[in-house]
Amino acid sequence: MKASKLSPKSNEDIRIGVYVCHCGKNIAGSVDCADVAEYASTLPHVVLSKHNLYTCSDPGQETIKKDVKEHNLNRVVVASCTPRLHEPTFRRTCEEAGLNKYLFEMANIREHCSWVHLYEPEKATAKAKDLVRMAVARSALMEPQEEAVVPVTRKALVIGGGVAGIQAALDLADTGYKVYLVEKSPSIGGKMAQIDKTFPTMDCSICILAPKMSDVGKHPNIELLTNSEVTEVGGYIGNFKVKVLKKPTYVTKDCTACGDCVDVCPVEIPNEFEVGLTWRKAIYIPFPQSVPARYLIDEKCCIGLGENTCAKCKEVCGPDAIIFNDKAEEVELKVGTIIVATGLDVFDPVSLMEYGYLRFPNTITSLEFERLINAGGPTGGRLVRPSNLRIPKKVAFIQCIGSRSEKRGNPYCSNVCCMNTIKDALLIKEHWPDVKIYVFYIDIRAIGKGFEDLFRRAKEAGVIFIRGLPAEIIEDRKSKNLWLVGENTLEKEIYTINVGMVVLSIGLRPRDDSGKVQQLLRLSKTSDGFFMEAHPKLRPVDTPTGGVFLAGCAEGPKDIKDSVTQASAAAARAGILMAKGKVTVEALTPKMLPEKCMGCGLCARVCPYNAITVDKEKKIAKVVEAACAGCGTCGAECSFNAIEMRHFTDEQIYAQINAATEKDADKKIIAFCCNWCSYAGADFAGVSRMQYPPSVRIIRTMCSGRVSTKFVERAFSRGAAAVLVAGCHLNDCHYINANYQTKKRVEKLWKKMERLGLDKNRLQLAWISAAEGAKFASKIKEMQRIVEGATKEEIEKTVDRMTPKKLQVTA
């Protein structure tokens, strides 16, 4: 079995089959697929070349399987979409045909070709041929590999205890897995705990959330770590090592939540849960339904910590639950999967000066509204005007605050605020039917189940909907009433409306501290700042990092129902991994060639994972496979060619460079793009149909740290007009910090080019994230000018000076 999988044996003939996919009209629309297939058949080792409508369809895959058997193919190349989408599909096809999956190669002629050169069919076709030539050249050098199987720890970590995190934790725990739920604040519950009622059903929010919260608190499979933060994440899919810092609460488990301490605590500071509308003490419980139901001391304002003494709380504490020498504690967890449910922040409308938030007492936000209308809130559920604590006669809601505008907040729709306002309006009508309510909107988005119904109810209840946001709010100095001035865009008239209170319907935005989680887990963000999913439609809760999943508003603005749905989905995805109990890791680790190794230790020094040990006596380096993530930085660093990166060998990459520069090299850009960010960014440019010059030939490596100076030199010595090295942004590297090596190497090359009297501008370095398709496109446009500016003499000079002298002699 194994032998057949690892075929062909190296002494066998190389027999390549090429399949060019039309992808309906997606590729065939601008690339002549028949021509490309025809051309492919002329390439060395290609014994068969076909084009078909959908290679990924069942019949397409069957064809490949049949051909492998009938024509004895031992390499398969598919020219179609991005390998980030269908490489797994075709690899499986190959395996089913008895071919090792590492003998499969893909040419990306859709995202990187047909979609970005929609209006230049000839050039697109020529480029597609180049891409196929590169793929064929590489595939001839590919070797079968054996993947390591690693066990998956059957424990999960959920970061964030909002409704999404709670649901995910409960689902996994009910399935039977051990779950660690890490929550930064002192209680779980998240934003939902602050909301009064929830649309569209108008259920009391805390009433439906509290039972779930206490389930979490009681569940034998859930270990709840509140007031805690994840500080370190190591390891890989199935085998994460996580460090969690438990901040001290100064109150032990003995606390009975009687609240006697609160009465005596002298410190009064703003209450975050009540959005600062009222105060709390330094010893407090975030809200009555908190889980864990335990008081804690706020380090920031307690006067009894450190050198000071106060201890009034300790004096009255019956169970003697207060300990002033509580210390932060670091816990180490071993988990197989991680679910990120870190939630949202709300938009801060202070920047919208014309609406006077914080300047006019009677302008409040929708979140403050939730606390004012809540019976447990600071006013006992009386919706009062802050200026005089009376119930207003007229209330206006202004929609899209911080949403749907590039300049005034964020460009995206926040998804929940329209329905939230309709809910709020109905709540007012329910308590005080005489209050007149205006809603100023751009569009009302009532797109969920039961939403339109609620909207209709609001209209029937007499809520007045006016299209067109106020341009300005003016406050009446004496009465503190507010004048709204704007244009009704339906009626085409100017309105000036006087109200007692304005509610700004604020949008949702990514949390300020989400960057930290992003770095820890090596996630990506979309341009709106929320975490990016592995595929927006087909893998909506997976992340590009294996074993890490997303749930709730961390992934994008959404309501409670969607957050919960997504949480259950994420739990299922994580559950699948853990149920299998093992996972194969790609065979991308380096192979040390002992005969060439000098034991210099350069590789060990650049390895971000400390996965290389050097035996000083035997003068030999060794790789710890389990720790290695396969970035290839070591391979790029070794000056003795003693490291062979599996599946991304030097020879394969040279073959790609050579194939790309075979014709018209002086008009081409060779771009080395890392798999996670820049290659994905180029894919994104394709998906968004951003058009850029067809001169670029992309070579994919797992990390930009794999790009050896030799590769760049080879590209120049082959006469390429320009070279681009692109990777993840500096602190977002998928391999901790390997891209710092990229930076170092490119800087070294720049110096060398300068020394050799070459135009160093022709080598560009760019940090392009998976969301920055536009940046990739504009980079290529910018470099096109460099290509056009590169004279023949300059290129010849480069070829001459960049070619290693040894080669010249032998040549």
Binding site: P266, T278, A311
Partner: protein
Amino acid sequence: MVNNLRGNPIKYENSQEIRIEREFLTRKYLLRLNKNLCNGCGLCSKICPEEAIKEEPPLVVNGHLEKKPTIDFDIDSCILCGECAVLCPLNALDMEVDGKEISTFVKNEAFPVLLKEINITKEKCDPECDAKCQEECPTEAIRVTKKSEKGQDRITNVQITESLCFYCKRCELACDHDAIQVRKPFRGSIELNTDLCPEGCMACAEICPTHTIQIENDKPQVFSEFCIFCSACQKVCPNQAIDVSRDWIFHTDVTAAAWLTALKKLTSVKTVAKELRIKSGQRRTSTVRGRERQLHLKSEQPNSDQAEAFLKILNKYKK
């Protein structure tokens, strides 16, 4: 700008004062520093539990105080507890909660009120007195009203504004008729080593709010009976020639260790221990004790349970 009612403290400053306001829907806090009264002694900064008060150093040029030391608030750390307002010896700081002059800590019984008093027995006043008290008063706390009667001024009323009084005893000692009694909140000592004085320097005299230090024959001289132990002089002295120490603070009874922290910072561990000892009634044969009792503690019934609790807390802390 109106206050924002969301509990964000806001600082306003002009040449006369610094105000920190914090408002919730239904409660208002205000801490006010009167810059004219403040002499930058920095006692507030010493005891602030959040270390939210920054001291700006004085500027002494050629023996003259060009700029008095000042204080400023770090609004991010200030929790508006009002300890500073309780302890300010010059009444330069006020704290109000909902318009009532009280500190949060006093309201929540975490801090005592200082026992300071000025009493006038008007019956003892001689109508023909030349109002030395008013003359001596370093502020305008005493207003003597006179009426001309048959070509002669006669005193009709003596009015005292306590919020302006420093409790320095100048009036008491000036009064020939024993009509005024002042009770200083702090007790301590002031020592000046004139040997260390730079030639012609008079910075200490310039900062002293009660004219305890006066320049005579080009040298500062201390009249310690007027000293209120604010220690501003010590702070401005360029040569560390002055040593002011407080050894006792008179205050209302309170069950709060926060007070002990402040007391320790303002006086010494010894004073704290003494206060605890007195409270616990473990009085030994000590002359000091006798005087204290005479002076102030006559009415205070020591509560030994309380004191034991205090001691326990303090000891726990030491560990």
